[in-house]
Protein backbone atom coordinates (compact mmCIF):
# COMPACT_ATOMS: atom_id res chain seq x y z
CA UNK A 1 0.00 0.00 0.00
CA UNK A 2 2.81 2.48 0.78
CA UNK A 3 4.11 2.10 -2.78
CA UNK A 4 0.71 2.47 -4.45
CA UNK A 5 -0.05 5.26 -6.88
CA UNK A 6 -2.74 7.81 -6.02
CA UNK A 7 -5.02 6.23 -8.59
CA UNK A 8 -4.55 2.80 -6.97
CA UNK A 9 -5.21 4.27 -3.53
CA UNK A 10 -8.38 5.96 -4.78
CA UNK A 11 -9.62 2.64 -6.21
CA UNK A 12 -8.81 0.80 -2.96
CA UNK A 13 -10.73 3.46 -1.03
CA UNK A 14 -13.69 3.33 -3.42
CA UNK A 15 -13.85 -0.48 -3.21
CA UNK A 16 -13.58 -0.29 0.62
CA UNK A 17 -10.45 -2.41 0.55
CA UNK A 18 -9.03 0.16 2.89
CA UNK A 19 -10.55 3.11 4.74
CA UNK A 20 -9.06 6.56 4.84
CA UNK A 21 -8.60 6.10 8.59
CA UNK A 22 -6.57 2.93 8.00
CA UNK A 23 -4.58 4.54 5.23
CA UNK A 24 -3.87 7.62 7.32
CA UNK A 25 -2.87 5.46 10.29
CA UNK A 26 -0.54 3.45 8.04
CA UNK A 27 1.37 6.58 7.05
CA UNK A 28 1.27 7.99 10.60
CA UNK A 29 2.93 4.74 11.71
CA UNK A 30 5.57 5.17 9.00
CA UNK A 31 6.22 8.70 10.25
CA UNK A 32 6.45 7.47 13.87
CA UNK A 33 8.97 4.87 12.77
CA UNK A 34 11.17 6.96 10.46
CA UNK A 35 10.86 10.63 11.37
CA UNK A 36 13.25 10.42 14.30
CA UNK A 37 16.05 9.68 11.89
CA UNK A 38 14.96 11.65 8.81
CA UNK A 39 13.41 14.76 10.46
CA UNK A 40 11.08 15.26 7.49
CA UNK A 41 8.08 16.50 9.52
CA UNK A 42 7.97 19.48 11.85
CA UNK A 43 4.40 18.88 13.00
CA UNK A 44 2.28 15.74 13.12
CA UNK A 45 -1.16 15.83 14.73
CA UNK A 46 -2.61 12.33 14.50
CA UNK A 47 -5.97 13.22 16.06
CA UNK A 48 -6.58 16.06 13.65
CA UNK A 49 -5.52 13.94 10.66
CA UNK A 50 -7.68 11.00 11.73
CA UNK A 51 -10.69 13.28 12.23
CA UNK A 52 -10.30 14.41 8.62
CA UNK A 53 -9.93 10.77 7.57
CA UNK A 54 -13.22 9.90 9.30
CA UNK A 55 -14.99 12.67 7.39
CA UNK A 56 -13.44 11.40 4.18
CA UNK A 57 -14.68 7.88 4.88
CA UNK A 58 -18.19 9.25 5.40
CA UNK A 59 -17.95 11.13 2.13
CA UNK A 60 -16.74 8.02 0.28
CA UNK A 61 -19.62 6.00 1.77
CA UNK A 62 -22.05 8.67 0.66
CA UNK A 63 -20.74 8.36 -2.89
CA UNK A 64 -19.36 11.91 -3.07
CA UNK A 65 -15.69 11.08 -3.41
CA UNK A 66 -13.35 12.92 -5.75
CA UNK A 67 -10.00 11.60 -7.02
CA UNK A 68 -8.10 12.59 -3.85
CA UNK A 69 -10.81 12.09 -1.21
CA UNK A 70 -9.38 10.19 1.74
CA UNK A 71 -5.77 10.42 0.49
CA UNK A 72 -3.25 11.66 3.06
CA UNK A 73 -1.13 14.55 1.76
CA UNK A 74 1.92 16.03 3.51
CA UNK A 75 2.15 19.81 3.26
CA UNK A 76 5.26 21.95 3.26
CA UNK A 77 5.26 24.06 6.41
CA UNK A 78 5.08 27.21 4.28
CA UNK A 79 1.32 26.73 3.69
CA UNK A 80 -0.92 28.16 6.40
CA UNK A 81 -3.39 25.55 7.65
CA UNK A 82 -5.94 26.75 10.16
CA UNK A 83 -5.24 25.40 13.65
CA UNK A 84 -1.89 23.93 12.60
CA UNK A 85 1.46 25.22 13.75
CA UNK A 86 2.89 26.85 10.59
CA UNK A 87 6.56 27.70 11.11
CA UNK A 88 8.12 28.14 7.66
CA UNK A 89 11.13 26.42 9.25
CA UNK A 90 11.86 29.50 11.36
CA UNK A 91 12.16 30.36 15.02
CA UNK A 92 10.35 33.56 14.03
CA UNK A 93 7.15 31.55 13.47
CA UNK A 94 7.82 28.76 15.97
CA UNK A 95 4.71 29.85 17.91
CA UNK A 96 2.51 30.67 14.89
CA UNK A 97 -0.72 28.70 14.75
CA UNK A 98 -2.25 29.76 11.44
CA UNK A 99 -5.63 31.45 11.84
CA UNK A 100 -6.67 30.67 8.25
CA UNK A 101 -6.12 28.24 5.39
CA UNK A 102 -3.92 28.89 2.37
CA UNK A 103 -5.81 28.58 -0.90
CA UNK A 104 -3.92 25.34 -1.59
CA UNK A 105 -4.90 23.89 1.80
CA UNK A 106 -8.50 24.92 1.23
CA UNK A 107 -8.51 23.14 -2.12
CA UNK A 108 -7.26 19.91 -0.55
CA UNK A 109 -9.77 20.21 2.28
CA UNK A 110 -12.56 20.72 -0.27
CA UNK A 111 -11.28 17.66 -2.16
CA UNK A 112 -11.58 15.61 1.04
CA UNK A 113 -7.85 14.92 1.37
CA UNK A 114 -6.26 14.40 4.76
CA UNK A 115 -3.56 16.74 6.08
CA UNK A 116 -0.92 14.22 7.15
CA UNK A 117 1.43 16.75 8.71
CA UNK A 118 3.62 19.77 8.01
CA UNK A 119 7.01 19.11 6.48
CA UNK A 120 10.40 20.51 7.33
CA UNK A 121 12.03 23.05 5.01
CA UNK A 122 14.86 25.53 4.75
CA UNK A 123 14.01 28.61 6.81
CA UNK A 124 11.59 30.77 4.79
CA UNK A 125 12.44 28.50 1.81
CA UNK A 126 15.94 29.97 1.61
CA UNK A 127 18.34 27.13 0.99
CA UNK A 128 19.20 24.18 -1.24
CA UNK A 129 19.99 21.54 1.36
CA UNK A 130 17.38 21.86 4.10
CA UNK A 131 20.18 22.73 6.52
CA UNK A 132 18.93 26.24 7.32
CA UNK A 133 15.79 25.00 9.11
CA UNK A 134 15.38 26.08 12.74
CA UNK A 135 14.13 22.52 13.25
CA UNK A 136 17.37 20.91 12.11
CA UNK A 137 18.44 19.35 8.84
CA UNK A 138 16.41 16.74 6.98
CA UNK A 139 18.29 13.57 6.04
CA UNK A 140 18.14 12.05 2.58
CA UNK A 141 16.42 8.62 2.83
CA UNK A 142 18.80 7.31 0.13
CA UNK A 143 21.77 8.03 2.39
CA UNK A 144 21.26 9.65 5.76
CA UNK A 145 24.69 11.26 5.65
CA UNK A 146 23.52 13.34 2.71
CA UNK A 147 21.14 16.24 2.15
CA UNK A 148 17.72 15.78 0.54
CA UNK A 149 18.03 19.10 -1.27
CA UNK A 150 15.99 22.16 -0.48
CA UNK A 151 14.12 24.12 0.28
CA UNK A 152 11.35 21.47 0.12
CA UNK A 153 13.63 18.83 1.66
CA UNK A 154 11.08 17.59 4.19
CA UNK A 155 8.39 17.04 1.56
CA UNK A 156 10.94 15.22 -0.61
CA UNK A 157 12.24 12.98 2.18
CA UNK A 158 8.68 12.22 3.33
CA UNK A 159 7.58 10.99 -0.10
CA UNK A 160 10.87 9.22 -0.92
CA UNK A 161 10.72 7.32 2.39
CA UNK A 162 7.05 6.44 1.88
CA UNK A 163 6.03 8.44 4.93
CA UNK A 164 3.48 10.13 2.65
CA UNK A 165 2.04 9.16 -0.74
CA UNK A 166 2.56 12.68 -2.04
CA UNK A 167 3.38 16.18 -0.80
CA UNK A 168 2.97 19.84 -1.62
CA UNK A 169 6.03 22.03 -1.99
CA UNK A 170 7.08 25.43 -3.32
CA UNK A 171 9.72 26.53 -5.78
CA UNK A 172 11.31 30.00 -5.97
CA UNK A 173 14.62 29.04 -7.61
CA UNK A 174 14.49 25.23 -7.73
CA UNK A 175 13.09 24.28 -4.32
CA UNK A 176 10.82 21.57 -5.75
CA UNK A 177 12.93 20.33 -8.65
CA UNK A 178 16.32 20.07 -6.94
CA UNK A 179 15.00 18.01 -3.96
CA UNK A 180 13.05 15.87 -6.45
CA UNK A 181 16.31 15.15 -8.31
CA UNK A 182 18.24 14.41 -5.11
CA UNK A 183 15.63 12.02 -3.70
CA UNK A 184 14.47 10.26 -6.87
CA UNK A 185 11.06 11.92 -7.15
CA UNK A 186 8.88 13.60 -9.74
CA UNK A 187 8.67 17.30 -8.95
CA UNK A 188 6.51 19.87 -10.71
CA UNK A 189 6.66 23.65 -10.50
CA UNK A 190 3.74 25.00 -12.53
CA UNK A 191 3.67 28.17 -14.61
CA UNK A 192 3.78 31.25 -12.39
CA UNK A 193 0.19 32.13 -11.48
CA UNK A 194 -1.36 28.66 -11.88
CA UNK A 195 -1.34 27.90 -8.14
CA UNK A 196 -2.51 30.64 -5.77
CA UNK A 197 0.05 32.11 -3.39
CA UNK A 198 -2.63 33.09 -0.87
CA UNK A 199 -1.57 31.76 2.54
CA UNK A 200 1.76 30.56 1.18
CA UNK A 201 4.29 32.46 3.26
CA UNK A 202 6.01 34.84 0.85
CA UNK A 203 9.71 34.70 0.03
CA UNK A 204 10.11 36.32 -3.42
CA UNK A 205 6.64 37.04 -4.68
CA UNK A 206 7.43 37.37 -8.39
CA UNK A 207 9.11 33.93 -8.37
CA UNK A 208 7.32 31.84 -5.71
CA UNK A 209 5.07 29.09 -7.02
CA UNK A 210 3.40 26.18 -5.26
CA UNK A 211 3.75 22.72 -6.70
CA UNK A 212 4.16 19.03 -6.06
CA UNK A 213 6.57 16.31 -5.00
CA UNK A 214 5.23 12.94 -6.12
CA UNK A 215 6.40 9.50 -7.18
CA UNK A 216 5.11 9.76 -10.76
CA UNK A 217 3.91 12.22 -13.35
CA UNK A 218 0.48 10.59 -13.16
CA UNK A 219 0.25 11.38 -9.43
CA UNK A 220 1.51 14.91 -10.05
CA UNK A 221 -1.25 15.51 -12.62
CA UNK A 222 -3.94 14.46 -10.11
CA UNK A 223 -2.43 16.80 -7.53
CA UNK A 224 -2.25 19.76 -9.89
CA UNK A 225 -5.90 19.27 -10.81
CA UNK A 226 -6.73 19.93 -7.14
CA UNK A 227 -4.17 22.66 -6.39
CA UNK A 228 -4.55 24.86 -9.45
CA UNK A 229 -7.24 27.37 -10.17
CA UNK A 230 -8.06 31.04 -10.01
CA UNK A 231 -8.06 32.78 -6.65
CA UNK A 232 -9.04 36.44 -6.40
CA UNK A 233 -7.03 36.74 -3.17
CA UNK A 234 -3.74 36.38 -5.08
CA UNK A 235 -3.30 39.40 -7.35
CA UNK A 236 -1.14 37.36 -9.74
CA UNK A 237 -3.42 34.32 -9.90
CA UNK A 238 -4.35 33.65 -13.51
CA UNK A 239 -8.00 33.29 -14.46
CA UNK A 240 -8.07 30.47 -16.98
CA UNK A 241 -10.41 27.74 -18.10
CA UNK A 242 -10.09 24.72 -15.77
CA UNK A 243 -8.04 21.99 -17.36
CA UNK A 244 -7.44 18.32 -16.68
CA UNK A 245 -3.67 18.11 -16.44
CA UNK A 246 -3.78 14.36 -16.97
CA UNK A 247 -5.66 14.58 -20.26
CA UNK A 248 -2.62 13.85 -22.43
CA UNK A 249 -1.31 10.88 -20.47
CA UNK A 250 -2.92 8.35 -22.79
CA UNK A 251 -1.23 7.82 -26.14
CA UNK A 252 -3.18 9.79 -28.76
CA UNK A 253 -4.92 7.75 -31.45
CA UNK A 254 -2.91 7.14 -34.58
CA UNK A 255 0.43 7.10 -32.79
CA UNK A 256 2.18 3.75 -32.41
CA UNK A 257 2.07 2.68 -28.73
CA UNK A 258 5.82 2.10 -28.65
CA UNK A 259 6.47 5.57 -30.09
CA UNK A 260 4.29 7.74 -27.85
CA UNK A 261 6.52 10.80 -28.25
CA UNK A 262 6.18 10.94 -32.04
CA UNK A 263 6.13 14.57 -33.12
CA UNK A 264 7.53 15.89 -29.83
CA UNK A 265 10.53 18.17 -30.28
CA UNK A 266 12.87 18.05 -27.29
CA UNK A 267 15.34 20.94 -27.04
CA UNK A 268 18.66 20.05 -25.45
CA UNK A 269 20.31 23.05 -23.83
CA UNK A 270 23.93 22.74 -24.88
CA UNK A 271 25.15 25.17 -22.21
CA UNK A 272 23.94 22.80 -19.50
CA UNK A 273 26.41 20.07 -20.43
CA UNK A 274 29.56 22.11 -19.90
CA UNK A 275 31.85 22.80 -16.96
CA UNK A 276 30.43 22.20 -13.51
CA UNK A 277 28.30 19.19 -14.44
CA UNK A 278 29.39 15.98 -12.70
CA UNK A 279 30.18 13.12 -15.14
CA UNK A 280 27.81 10.65 -13.44
CA UNK A 281 24.91 13.11 -13.78
CA UNK A 282 25.85 13.85 -17.41
CA UNK A 283 25.82 10.11 -18.22
CA UNK A 284 22.38 9.51 -16.68
CA UNK A 285 20.88 12.55 -18.41
CA UNK A 286 22.41 11.50 -21.74
CA UNK A 287 20.79 8.05 -21.45
CA UNK A 288 17.47 9.72 -20.72
CA UNK A 289 17.82 11.75 -23.91
CA UNK A 290 18.51 8.53 -25.82
CA UNK A 291 15.37 7.00 -24.30
CA UNK A 292 13.25 10.01 -25.31
CA UNK A 293 14.52 9.56 -28.85
CA UNK A 294 13.68 5.84 -28.77
CA UNK A 295 10.16 6.81 -27.72
CA UNK A 296 9.77 8.84 -30.89
CA UNK A 297 10.88 12.33 -29.85
CA UNK A 298 13.11 14.46 -32.04
CA UNK A 299 16.09 16.01 -30.25
CA UNK A 300 17.16 19.47 -31.31
CA UNK A 301 19.98 21.64 -29.97
CA UNK A 302 18.85 24.88 -28.38
CA UNK A 303 20.78 27.65 -26.72
CA UNK A 304 19.93 29.81 -23.74
CA UNK A 305 23.10 31.91 -23.62
CA UNK A 306 21.94 34.25 -20.85
CA UNK A 307 20.86 31.48 -18.49
CA UNK A 308 24.35 31.44 -16.96
CA UNK A 309 23.57 34.87 -15.53
CA UNK A 310 20.45 33.52 -13.87
CA UNK A 311 22.10 32.87 -10.52
CA UNK A 312 23.53 36.40 -10.39
CA UNK A 313 20.22 38.05 -11.33
CA UNK A 314 18.32 35.77 -8.95
CA UNK A 315 20.52 36.71 -6.00
CA UNK A 316 19.52 40.33 -6.56
CA UNK A 317 15.82 39.88 -7.29
CA UNK A 318 14.96 37.19 -4.74
CA UNK A 319 16.69 38.88 -1.77
CA UNK A 320 15.24 42.27 -2.80
CA UNK A 321 11.71 40.86 -2.70
CA UNK A 322 12.51 38.89 0.45
CA UNK A 323 13.78 41.96 2.30
CA UNK A 324 10.46 43.62 1.59
CA UNK A 325 8.27 40.57 2.33
CA UNK A 326 10.05 39.69 5.56
CA UNK A 327 9.74 43.22 6.94
CA UNK A 328 6.32 42.11 8.22
CA UNK A 329 8.02 40.02 10.90
CA UNK A 330 8.49 42.69 13.52
CA UNK A 331 7.29 41.04 16.72
CA UNK A 332 4.11 43.14 16.86
CA UNK A 333 1.20 41.12 15.44
CA UNK A 334 2.47 37.55 15.44
CA UNK A 335 5.64 35.53 15.67
CA UNK A 336 8.65 35.88 17.91
CA UNK A 337 9.13 38.92 20.12
CA UNK A 338 12.36 39.45 22.05
CA UNK A 339 12.08 39.18 25.83
CA UNK A 340 13.93 42.38 26.67
CA UNK A 341 14.19 45.70 24.85
CA UNK A 342 14.27 49.31 25.87
CA UNK A 343 12.31 50.94 23.05
CA UNK A 344 10.35 50.17 19.88
CA UNK A 345 13.33 50.25 17.50
CA UNK A 346 15.20 47.82 19.73
CA UNK A 347 12.15 45.58 19.97
CA UNK A 348 12.16 45.26 16.18
CA UNK A 349 15.88 44.73 15.77
CA UNK A 350 16.23 42.26 18.65
CA UNK A 351 13.12 40.29 17.70
CA UNK A 352 14.41 39.98 14.13
CA UNK A 353 17.97 39.20 15.23
CA UNK A 354 16.70 36.38 17.46
CA UNK A 355 13.95 35.12 15.17
CA UNK A 356 15.85 34.82 11.88
CA UNK A 357 18.70 32.41 11.14
CA UNK A 358 21.97 33.30 9.41
CA UNK A 359 20.93 32.62 5.80
CA UNK A 360 17.69 34.59 6.11
CA UNK A 361 19.56 37.53 7.63
CA UNK A 362 22.12 37.37 4.85
CA UNK A 363 19.45 37.58 2.19
CA UNK A 364 17.60 40.40 3.93
CA UNK A 365 20.88 42.34 4.09
CA UNK A 366 21.60 41.73 0.38
CA UNK A 367 18.07 42.78 -0.52
CA UNK A 368 18.18 45.87 1.65
CA UNK A 369 21.46 46.90 0.04
CA UNK A 370 20.45 46.40 -3.60
CA UNK A 371 17.25 48.38 -3.05
CA UNK A 372 18.97 51.18 -1.16
CA UNK A 373 19.54 54.66 -2.51
CA UNK A 374 22.26 54.80 -5.13
CA UNK A 375 22.38 51.08 -5.88
CA UNK A 376 18.88 50.41 -7.23
CA UNK A 377 19.74 50.91 -10.91
CA UNK A 378 23.11 49.16 -10.75
CA UNK A 379 21.67 46.04 -9.17
CA UNK A 380 17.91 45.74 -9.15
CA UNK A 381 17.11 47.25 -12.53
CA UNK A 382 20.15 45.52 -14.09
CA UNK A 383 18.92 42.17 -12.74
CA UNK A 384 15.45 42.80 -14.15
CA UNK A 385 16.96 43.47 -17.57
CA UNK A 386 18.87 40.20 -17.41
CA UNK A 387 15.65 38.53 -16.37
CA UNK A 388 14.15 39.79 -19.64
CA UNK A 389 17.09 38.44 -21.66
CA UNK A 390 16.65 35.02 -20.05
CA UNK A 391 12.91 35.00 -20.80
CA UNK A 392 13.71 36.02 -24.40
CA UNK A 393 16.15 33.08 -24.70
CA UNK A 394 13.38 30.67 -23.74
CA UNK A 395 10.92 32.30 -26.14
CA UNK A 396 13.45 31.81 -28.95
CA UNK A 397 14.10 28.20 -27.92
CA UNK A 398 10.38 27.37 -27.92
CA UNK A 399 10.20 28.30 -31.59
CA UNK A 400 12.27 25.16 -32.26
CA UNK A 401 11.04 22.77 -29.58
CA UNK A 402 8.16 21.84 -27.27
CA UNK A 403 10.20 21.36 -24.11
CA UNK A 404 13.72 22.18 -23.05
CA UNK A 405 15.68 19.51 -21.16
CA UNK A 406 18.93 19.11 -19.25
CA UNK A 407 20.19 18.08 -15.83
CA UNK A 408 18.24 19.33 -12.77
CA UNK A 409 21.23 19.62 -10.47
CA UNK A 410 24.97 19.58 -11.18
CA UNK A 411 25.65 16.69 -8.78
CA UNK A 412 23.86 13.93 -6.89
CA UNK A 413 22.98 14.59 -3.22
CA UNK A 414 26.01 16.00 -1.40
CA UNK A 415 27.08 15.33 2.18
CA UNK A 416 25.47 17.16 5.08
CA UNK A 417 27.64 20.13 5.98
CA UNK A 418 29.62 20.05 2.72
CA UNK A 419 28.43 23.44 1.50
CA UNK A 420 26.74 24.87 4.59
CA UNK A 421 29.45 27.45 5.29
CA UNK A 422 29.89 28.58 1.69
CA UNK A 423 26.78 30.42 0.46
CA UNK A 424 28.06 30.92 -3.09
CA UNK A 425 28.71 27.18 -3.58
CA UNK A 426 25.25 26.45 -2.20
CA UNK A 427 23.65 28.98 -4.56
CA UNK A 428 25.26 27.35 -7.60
CA UNK A 429 23.21 24.20 -6.97
CA UNK A 430 20.31 25.98 -8.59
CA UNK A 431 22.11 27.11 -11.74
CA UNK A 432 19.90 24.97 -14.03
CA UNK A 433 16.59 25.55 -12.25
CA UNK A 434 16.63 29.31 -11.59
CA UNK A 435 16.05 30.46 -15.21
CA UNK A 436 12.55 28.88 -15.28
CA UNK A 437 11.54 30.87 -12.18
CA UNK A 438 12.88 34.10 -13.64
CA UNK A 439 10.89 33.52 -16.82
CA UNK A 440 7.83 32.18 -14.94
CA UNK A 441 7.83 28.95 -16.94
CA UNK A 442 6.71 25.52 -15.71
CA UNK A 443 9.50 23.09 -14.79
CA UNK A 444 9.78 19.46 -13.76
CA UNK A 445 12.37 17.04 -12.55
CA UNK A 446 11.95 13.32 -13.09
CA UNK A 447 14.23 10.47 -11.97
CA UNK A 448 16.43 9.31 -14.86
CA UNK A 449 19.13 7.13 -13.38
CA UNK A 450 21.49 6.55 -10.52
CA UNK A 451 24.85 8.26 -10.22
CA UNK A 452 27.72 7.99 -7.79
CA UNK A 453 27.05 5.97 -4.61
CA UNK A 454 23.78 4.75 -6.14
CA UNK A 455 22.16 8.17 -5.63
CA UNK A 456 19.33 9.41 -7.88
CA UNK A 457 19.79 11.79 -10.81
CA UNK A 458 17.04 14.07 -12.15
CA UNK A 459 16.17 15.05 -15.70
CA UNK A 460 15.06 18.68 -15.84
CA UNK A 461 12.32 19.76 -18.21
CA UNK A 462 11.06 23.29 -18.86
CA UNK A 463 7.91 23.81 -20.88
CA UNK A 464 6.33 26.85 -22.43
CA UNK A 465 3.74 28.83 -20.44
CA UNK A 466 0.79 26.61 -19.42
CA UNK A 467 2.35 23.51 -21.05
CA UNK A 468 2.01 21.44 -17.85
CA UNK A 469 -0.25 18.82 -19.47
CA UNK A 470 2.26 18.36 -22.30
CA UNK A 471 5.21 18.08 -19.91
CA UNK A 472 3.37 15.66 -17.65
CA UNK A 473 2.54 13.51 -20.68
CA UNK A 474 6.17 13.42 -21.84
CA UNK A 475 7.26 12.51 -18.31
CA UNK A 476 4.53 9.87 -18.07
CA UNK A 477 5.51 8.19 -21.33
CA UNK A 478 9.13 8.15 -20.18
CA UNK A 479 8.00 6.59 -16.90
CA UNK A 480 5.92 3.96 -18.70
CA UNK A 481 9.07 2.88 -20.56
CA UNK A 482 11.54 3.10 -17.65
CA UNK A 483 11.51 2.23 -13.96
CA UNK A 484 13.77 4.87 -12.39
CA UNK A 485 10.76 6.49 -10.72
CA UNK A 486 9.87 3.15 -9.09
CA UNK A 487 13.24 2.82 -7.37
CA UNK A 488 13.17 3.51 -3.68
CA UNK A 489 15.82 4.02 -1.04
CA UNK A 490 17.02 0.75 0.43
CA UNK A 491 14.73 -0.53 3.16
CA UNK A 492 12.11 2.17 2.50
CA UNK A 493 9.65 0.31 0.30
CA UNK A 494 8.28 -2.11 2.89
Amino acid sequence: MINSSLKELAIALALKKVSSVELTQLFLDRIAKLNGELNAFITVDAERSLAQARSADARISAGNAGPLTGIPVAHKDIFCAQGWLTTCGSKMLSNFVAPYDAHVIGRFNDAGSVILGKTNMDEFAMGSSNETSFYGPVKNPWNTGRVPGGSSGGSAAAVAARMAPVATATDTGGSIRQPAALTGLTGLKPTYGVVSRYGMIAFASSLDQGGILARSAEDAALMLNVMSGFDARDSTSIDRVTEDYGRELEVPGGVAPNLPLTGVRVGVVKEHFGAGLAPDVARAVQSALDELRRLGATLVDVSTPNARLGVAAYYVIAPAEASSNLSRFDGVRYGHRAKSYSNLAEMYSKSRAEGFGAEVKRRILIGTYVLSHGYYDAYYVKAQKIRRLIANDFAAAFKDCDIVVGPTSPTVAFELGAKASDPVQMYLNDVYTIPANLAGLPGMSIPCGLGEHGLPVGLHMVGNYFAEAKMLAIAHHYQCATDWHLRSPEGMSA
Binding site: Y341, A353, R362, K385
Partner: protein, 95 residues
Protein backbone atom coordinates in the same frame (compact mmCIF):
# COMPACT_ATOMS: atom_id res chain seq x y z
CA UNK B 1 32.94 46.57 -5.23
CA UNK B 2 33.50 45.79 -1.63
CA UNK B 3 31.32 46.51 1.38
CA UNK B 4 32.96 48.22 4.34
CA UNK B 5 32.12 47.18 7.88
CA UNK B 6 30.35 50.52 8.33
CA UNK B 7 28.14 49.75 5.34
CA UNK B 8 27.25 46.36 6.81
CA UNK B 9 26.18 48.08 10.02
CA UNK B 10 24.20 50.66 8.05
CA UNK B 11 22.34 47.99 6.04
CA UNK B 12 21.62 46.04 9.22
CA UNK B 13 20.17 49.19 10.75
CA UNK B 14 17.98 49.78 7.69
CA UNK B 15 16.86 46.13 7.85
CA UNK B 16 16.17 46.41 11.60
CA UNK B 17 18.37 43.46 12.46
CA UNK B 18 20.68 43.84 15.44
CA UNK B 19 24.18 42.59 14.61
CA UNK B 20 27.19 42.28 16.88
CA UNK B 21 30.64 43.36 15.66
CA UNK B 22 31.60 39.70 15.19
CA UNK B 23 28.45 38.98 13.18
CA UNK B 24 29.04 42.06 11.05
CA UNK B 25 32.57 40.87 10.24
CA UNK B 26 31.35 37.42 9.20
CA UNK B 27 28.53 38.95 7.17
CA UNK B 28 30.96 41.36 5.46
CA UNK B 29 33.09 38.50 4.14
CA UNK B 30 30.14 36.44 2.91
CA UNK B 31 28.26 39.39 1.42
CA UNK B 32 31.36 40.38 -0.52
CA UNK B 33 31.64 36.86 -1.95
CA UNK B 34 27.98 37.00 -2.94
CA UNK B 35 28.39 40.45 -4.50
CA UNK B 36 31.28 39.18 -6.54
CA UNK B 37 28.94 36.48 -7.94
CA UNK B 38 26.27 39.12 -8.57
CA UNK B 39 28.90 41.30 -10.25
CA UNK B 40 28.91 38.91 -13.24
CA UNK B 41 25.82 40.76 -14.43
CA UNK B 42 27.78 43.92 -15.10
CA UNK B 43 29.67 42.28 -17.98
CA UNK B 44 26.50 42.10 -20.07
CA UNK B 45 25.30 44.97 -22.21
CA UNK B 46 21.65 45.56 -21.35
CA UNK B 47 21.28 48.92 -23.07
CA UNK B 48 17.71 49.36 -24.29
CA UNK B 49 16.38 46.19 -22.65
CA UNK B 50 13.05 46.66 -20.91
CA UNK B 51 13.31 45.56 -17.25
CA UNK B 52 11.12 42.55 -16.42
CA UNK B 53 9.50 42.88 -13.01
CA UNK B 54 7.13 40.00 -13.36
CA UNK B 55 6.59 36.77 -15.25
CA UNK B 56 3.10 37.73 -16.36
CA UNK B 57 2.42 41.07 -17.93
CA UNK B 58 -1.30 41.00 -17.05
CA UNK B 59 -2.75 44.17 -15.59
CA UNK B 60 -3.87 44.18 -12.00
CA UNK B 61 -7.52 43.36 -11.63
CA UNK B 62 -10.08 45.73 -10.21
CA UNK B 63 -12.94 44.60 -8.02
CA UNK B 64 -16.09 46.24 -6.79
CA UNK B 65 -15.55 48.56 -3.84
CA UNK B 66 -17.45 46.47 -1.32
CA UNK B 67 -16.56 44.93 2.02
CA UNK B 68 -15.28 41.38 1.49
CA UNK B 69 -13.77 40.61 4.89
CA UNK B 70 -15.56 39.77 8.09
CA UNK B 71 -14.26 41.01 11.45
CA UNK B 72 -11.92 38.37 12.88
CA UNK B 73 -9.76 40.57 15.08
CA UNK B 74 -10.18 38.36 18.15
CA UNK B 75 -8.94 35.33 16.21
CA UNK B 76 -6.03 37.19 14.65
CA UNK B 77 -5.03 38.82 17.91
CA UNK B 78 -5.13 35.54 19.79
CA UNK B 79 -1.65 34.81 18.39
CA UNK B 80 -0.18 38.29 19.01
CA UNK B 81 2.67 38.75 21.50
CA UNK B 82 0.85 41.46 23.50
CA UNK B 83 -2.71 42.75 23.16
CA UNK B 84 -4.94 44.90 25.33
CA UNK B 85 -8.48 46.07 24.63
CA UNK B 86 -8.27 44.92 21.01
CA UNK B 87 -5.04 46.85 20.42
CA UNK B 88 -1.52 45.58 19.75
CA UNK B 89 0.85 46.78 22.46
CA UNK B 90 4.34 48.10 21.71
CA UNK B 91 6.79 50.16 23.79
CA UNK B 92 5.85 53.81 24.19
CA UNK B 93 6.89 55.83 21.12
CA UNK B 94 5.87 59.36 22.21
CA UNK B 95 6.74 60.54 25.72
Amino acid sequence: MSLSIEEVHRIALLARIEVSDAEALAAQRQLNEIFSLIGEMQAVDTEGIQPMAHAQSALLRLRDDVVTEVDQHALFQSIAPQVEGGLYLVPKVIE
